[in-house]
Symmetry: none
Subunit: 319 residues, 2 copies
């Protein structure tokens, strides 16, 4: 048993926080090396690190740092199995405990889970990010998770990025984790019946996440679909429509620059014109859309429309 005396920098790197934060946690919450002479360097033992790991896990769950520190401090030093039931903690929120700010992502009143996700994101802790998302997906489903957890955090990152220009790495890590989480949902739900719904990004549009959310929501509802992905030229979209003859087509555009209504018009003029053409995303201008195009306001509406198409045309043995 060698004494793994980790330095402050090493611990900070491992946790994904700044060295100064480690010092702050020590003096504010008493969460530091058990043996530390003031003025000397901090040397974290395995037990100290375990405490900090608990701190990291609890804050990633959305628990107030002060509260998390209280739990981390009271854990028995020996033994790695310091499992703390987090579910109970989320519910019980003592009065007078506020959520603070600091270097974080604004999530508004999106709940503790979103705050925890934001914190894990700032630390680039992809494991915690993935676990949080998976838990939310299992508990609340795709639509609720998207609206209540993922979108607030993603929007927060986007705003901060637009304002300061930074946070690019954070955005990428979160996006990737969200993609992976949606992918597991997608893979888990085996599609039944033919895919009559086609999902596609607009030409040059690179943002896929909302479309992936829709895909996951459809998979959750056992609705078959086809996902084309990002940067689909109008010709390729028409080609796909002609080849597969979908009942509904969803075209996502995040930016106005990618929202050329012509690619929708071409769709409507296609030989195998789909019953429903959805222009989704904030890029589209309502007044410039060709007639016959529906514009859902949120994920729930898009899912509902897609389900309607499935229900009306799902059974080939009609009347």
């Amino acid at each position: 048993m060698a004494d793994e005396a980790l330095s402050a920098g090493a611990v900070a790197r491992r946790l994904g926080v700044a060295v100064t934060t480690l010092r702050t946690w020590h003096q504010r919450y008493g969460l530091g090396p058990s043996q530390h002479v003031p003025g000397h360097h901090r040397r974290y033992t395995a037990a100290d690190l375990a405490r900090l790991e608990i701190m990291r896990r609890l804050t990633a769950e959305g628990i107030t740092p002060a509260e998390a520190a209280r739990w981390a401090r009271q854990t028995p030093a020996p033994g790695l199995a310091g499992e703390v039931s987090t579910d109970a903690l989320v519910e019980v929120r003592p009065l007078g405990v506020r959520d603070g700010g600091g270097q974080t992502i604004p999530v508004g009143r999106a709940g503790p889970a979103a705050r925890g996700l934001a914190r894990a994101a700032m630390r680039l802790d992809s494991v915690a990010i993935g676990e949080t998302i998976a838990r939310a997906l299992a508990a609340d489903g795709v639509v609720a998770t998207w609206d209540g957890l993922l979108r607030p955090v993603l929007v927060g990152i986007g705003e901060r990025h637009a304002a300061t220009g930074g946070l690019v790495e954070v955005e990428h890590v979160v996006s990737r984790c969200v993609s992976e989480a949606f992918a597991t949902v997608t893979r888990a739900g085996p599609a039944t019946g033919p895919a009559r719904i086609l999902l596609s990004c607009a030409d040059e549009e690179q943002h896929t996440l909302p479309l992936e959310a829709l895909a996951a929501a459809l998979a959750e509802a056992n609705v078959a679909y086809r996902m084309l992905g990002a940067r689909v030229p109008a010709a390729a979209l028409v080609e796909a429509v002609n080849r597969t003859g979908p009942a509904a087509v969803v075209v996502w555009s995040h930016l106005q620059a990618t929202a050329d209504p012509a690619q929708l018009t071409v769709l409507l003029a296609s030989p195998r014109r789909p019953l429903l053409v959805l222009a989704a995303g904030p890029g589209w201008r309502a007044d410039s859309l060709p007639a016959g195009v529906v514009r859902p306001v949120d994920l729930a509406e898009a899912v509902a429309l897609a389900l309607a198409v499935r229900d009306s045309l799902g059974q080939p043995a009609g009347h």
Copy 2:
């Protein structure tokens, strides 16, 4: 070539350090002649010298002596796929003709599975595509599936696309299915230990699939990593490196346009300089890479290098 036991002075002269330093390295880091009785003269064998060579080169590259000693000490004496020598790797491959996928195999020799995958792709049948990939992954693992199945098909589609201009939808559907398959692999393997490997695309680079393959291969081997994803500006990459202090960084570039060596140079000049910087992908020009950058030729080599980093630095022992 018999192993002439070198004296301390000879070794010191060869390495360019003082004799006392050799003694210091021995008693501080345990980096000395494997057989040495206290009080007697040190006699360095070839293996001992090799260890010291590693020590010298790593410290010359700006790596903390303690960390460099850890590398040198745990290097297997008989070259077990281990030779850490970055310079050697760069020089051994004077012209890396292709490595991300230059070979023109029209899916013909790649086996029946590839043919079936190509057919399902043309049909935009994402279910069949996903099943084929999942089956191959389960049977052959990530690396073999990538080299033997996915890369041939993707390359074939790419060539056809370049020639005819069509097949965009096919490419997108296949890419998405591959991503999802890799994501399930990624999610299935719980990472153990801190993530010391950082995966990132070059600036403006949009192709993520090869990086996702690497991530899946690492997850398959239970190696923790961090994936940044596509279009990572150099500043964001440096930011992530400084925040998480990884041991190895893999930067993927598919196109020459995105392979600016400056973003690697910045990495090497970073305060928390990683031990290993891998320039992966066909975009990089071997002759324009800064010294100290390793250029893996294929997925297997990249995985092997990453594993070496994990194995060599698993335990951050104290002094």
